[in-house]
Symmetry: C2
Subunit: 393 residues, 2 copies
C-alpha cells in the first residue's frame, strides 16, 4: 500500500523548491529531477535508474518476469504552474516503488517513468518525450521545432542527453511493457462537481488545431461605407459564432484562444484577422465532421493545420479493473492530452485515473486538490497497480 501522506509531503517539498517553475529543458527542471533520483534511491535501494535516448527517466524495479508494468507521468510543468499537474503521477509512482520494494515475489517488473517535456511549452509540441520513446515523433517533425526565439530544439535538448539520431524508432524496452497506468489530476471541473475523489478515464478527446487567417481590405473607419467593406473582423466574428454552435450541437469543444487584427489601429478597418481554433471530440467521425464544417464556415480564409491527434480509447479490460478500484463510478473522458495517449497509440494496454481539480483550475498556481481526495486517488491507483504487478503474464 502506498504511503499517501508521504506522497503528499513529497509533492509539497517539490513545490516549495520549484514554485511551479519546472519547465522542461531548464536548470530548474533538471534540479528537480535530481531530487527525484535521490528520493527513488532512498525508497528502493538497488533500483536501476536510467535516462533513455530522449531524456525520459526510468526507475526500474525488476520482478520475477521481464514483463513490465509502466507507471508514468511527467515532472515538467508550465511556467508558473501548480503543485500537482504531472508531478502527482511521478511522486505516486515513487511511492508505489517504495511500497513494492518492501514486498517480495513480484510477478512483474515495475518501471516508473518520468516523461520529458509533456507540456510542450518550449517548442509548442506536447508529449515530446513519450512520442519520441514510442517512435511517433519523426526526425523531420523534430527538426522543424523551434523555441519562441527561433532556436532549433536540437540545440536546446542535446544538453539534456536527448539524442535526435535515435528518433523514429520505438525504444526496445517498450516491447516488454504489458500494461501502462497513470495517475493525474483532471484539470477540469467535472469530477469535483460530481463529488468523487477519483475516477477511471476511458479515453482522450481527439484534437484538430488550426490557424485561420481571414483576409480583407484595409480601409478608413470613417471613409469606407459599410457596403463597400471587406471587413475581416466581421467575417471572423460570424465564423466564431457559427463554429461555437457547431461544437455544441456535436457535443464537441471549440476554443478560439488567440485572435488579432492587423494593423490593429482603432480607426482602420483591418486588412486581416488571424485566429487559432482548437476543436476536440471523443469520437473520430464527429471530430472530422466538426473540422470539415469549420473549414466550410471559414470560406475563403487561409487555413493551416497546427496539430492533430485522433481520439484515443484506453484498454477495455483495464477500464473494467479501474472502474472497480474507483467504486464503480462512471469513467471520464480526458480533454487534455497525456503521455498515456502516446502509449495507447503505440499499442500498450493503457489506463488513467483522475483526481479532482478544485474549480477545474490548472496550469496556474491556484491549482489544487483536497488532500483527502488525493489520498483516495493514490489508494485506488496503488490498488490497480498491485493487481497488475501480481498478475501472471
Amino acid at each position: 500500500m502506498i504511503d499517501a501522506a508521504a506522497v503528499v509531503a513529497a509533492l509539497r517539498a517539490t513545490d516549495t523548491r520549484s514554485r511551479g517553475n519546472r519547465e522542461a529543458w531548464t536548470p530548474e527542471w533538471e534540479a528537480e529531477r535530481a531530487q527525484l533520483d535521490a528520493l527513488a534511491r532512498a525508497a528502493a535501494p538497488g533500483l536501476v535508474i536510467e535516462r533513455d535516448a530522449f531524456a525520459n527517466t526510468w526507475y526500474v524495479l525488476p520482478g520475477d518476469s521481464a514483463d513490465a508494468v509502466l507507471v508514468g507521468s511527467h515532472s515538467d510543468s508550465v511556467p508558473g504552474g501548480g503543485w500537482l499537474d504531472g508531478i502527482l503521477g511521478v511522486h505516486a509512482g515513487l511511492g508505489l516503488l517504495a511500497s513494492a520494494a518492501r514486498k517480495t515475489g513480484r510477478a512483474r517488473t515495475l518501471a516508473v517513468v518520468d516523461w520529458a517535456d509533456e507540456e510542450g511549452t518550449r517548442f509548442g509540441r506536447s508529449l515530446l518525450g513519450s512520442t519520441a520513446a514510442t517512435g511517433a515523433l519523426s526526425p523531420t517533425d523534430f527538426a522543424a521545432l523551434r523555441t519562441a526565439d527561433g532556436l532549433p530544439a536540437a540545440g536546446v535538448v542535446e544538453q539534456y542527453g536527448f539524442d535526435a539520431t535515435a528518433l523514429g524508432q520505438p525504444l526496445p524496452r517498450l516491447a516488454e511493457v504489458r500494461a501502462a497506468i497513470e495517475l493525474h489530476i483532471e484539470q477540469g471541473p467535472v469530477l469535483e462537481r460530481s463529488g468523487r475523489p477519483v475516477a477511471a478515464v476511458a479515453g482522450c478527446l481527439g484534437v484538430r488545431r488550426l490557424r485561420i487567417e481571414f483576409g480583407g481590405q484595409r480601409g478608413h473607419a470613417g471613409a469606407t461605407p459599410m457596403d463597400h467593406r471587406l471587413d475581416p473582423v466581421r467575417h471572423a466574428a460570424a465564423f466564431i459564432c457559427e463554429v461555437m454552435e457547431l461544437a455544441e450541437v456535436s457535443s464537441g469543444l471549440a476554443t478560439v484562444g488567440r485572435i488579432a487584427a492587423d494593423p490593429g489601429l482603432p480607426t482602420v478597418v483591418p486588412a486581416r484577422v488571424e485566429l487559432t481554433l482548437d476543436l476536440r471530440h471523443p469520437e473520430l467521425s464527429p471530430l472530422e465532421e466538426l473540422a470539415a464544417a469549420a473549414r466550410a464556415a471559414a470560406g475563403q480564409a487561409q487555413i493551416e493545420r497546427l496539430f492533430s491527434v485522433d481520439p484515443v480509447h484506453f484498454d477495455q479490460q483495464l477500464l473494467a479493473r479501474a472502474v472497480e478500484v474507483t467504486d464503480g463510478g462512471e469513467p471520464l473522458i480526458s480533454g487534455p492530452l497525456h503521455d498515456s495517449v502516446s502509449l495507447a497509440v503505440y499499442g500498450v494496454p493503457t489506463m488513467m485515473l483522475f483526481a479532482p481539480s478544485i474549480g477545474g483550475i490548472s496550469h496556474a498556481r491556484a491549482e489544487d486538490t483536497a488532500e483527502s481526495d488525493l489520498a483516495e486517488a493514490i489508494a485506488a491507483f496503488g490498488s490497480l497497480a498491485d493487481q497488475l504487478l501480481t498478475t501472471n503474464p
Copy 2:
C-alpha cells in the same frame, strides 16, 4: 486663378523630399515647413509669416479690411503616408497666395494656415494644432497626452514653439476670420465611384470611440465543457456581429480595428478579450442611439470612452456657393475628421471641398488622385476663395 500645374509640381517636390514621412514634431516635418516658408516668400513678397502659440504657421496677405478668409489644411502626414493628404490644401493655399498677390484691391485679408499635428499619430489626439488654436484643447487634456513610449507631449512640442500655458483660450486673431475653407482629398471611394473631380462637403460624421473589455473565466481548451464556459471570445464575437448590424440599420459606420485575447494561447479559453469600437454617424441623435445600443449589446463588459466628437454641419450659405463652383453636384459627408471641424465647432462659417481618392486609398504610399482631377478641384477651390476674398464685409 491658381496655377494648378505649379501646385501639383510643388506637391511632387514635397513628396520627393519627404517620401510621405512628415510626422508632426519631427525634424522631417520641420524641414518641410521651412520649404513651405521659402515657397510662400517667393510667391508673395512682403507676406507676413508667423508661428502662433501652438506651432501653427500663418501666411498672411493683408487686404483692404482686417476681415479675413482663412484657408487651412496640414503639412504633417502619418508615417509612410501619401503625397496629398493635408499637404494638398497647404500647397493649394500657397498657390492662392501667389494668385492673390498678383491682384490689386483685395477686399479681405487672406490667411493661409498650416495646422500642426492634424494626424495625431504621436499622441493619439487628432487636430491638435487647430483645437489648441480655437481653445477647444484644455490644459488638462493636453497634460494627459503621451507618446507611445510614455513621454509627455509637452516635452516634445515645446521644442517646436508650442506654448502649453496659452491653452484653453482661442487665438485673438480668429475673431477676424469671416470664413474658412479647406481643400482635401476624400480618403474614401465615394467620389471616384461617382466619376466627379470635386465635391462640396456638407459636414463631418460624429464619432464615439470606445475600448471594450469582455471578462470571462480562463479554462483549458480540452477540459472545460462548453456549458461551463464563460468564454469572452464568444461573447465578443456575438457583440461584433450585433453591432455591425446595428450600424447598417442606422446608416452609420462601425469598426473594430483592434482585438486581442488574453492570455492568447491556442489551448486556453481566454480570461478576457479587449477590442476598440469606432462608431460614426452624420446625425447626432442616431449616433447617440447607436452608441447606446452598442453599450447595451456589450452587457457586463467594461467600457471606456476613448474619443468623442459630435457630427458637424458646415455653413449653409457657404455650402450653396460650394455646390455652385462644383457644378451643382450632390455634397458629400466626410467620414474622417479635418481641421475644418475645429473651426466650425468654434463658430467660423466653414466649408470643405474634396478631390477624389483613387480606390479610396489614403494613409498609404499608394494614395493618389488623377492630375486632371486635381486641376479641376484646385480651380473650384480658387473660384470659391476668390468669391470670399472679394466679398464686401
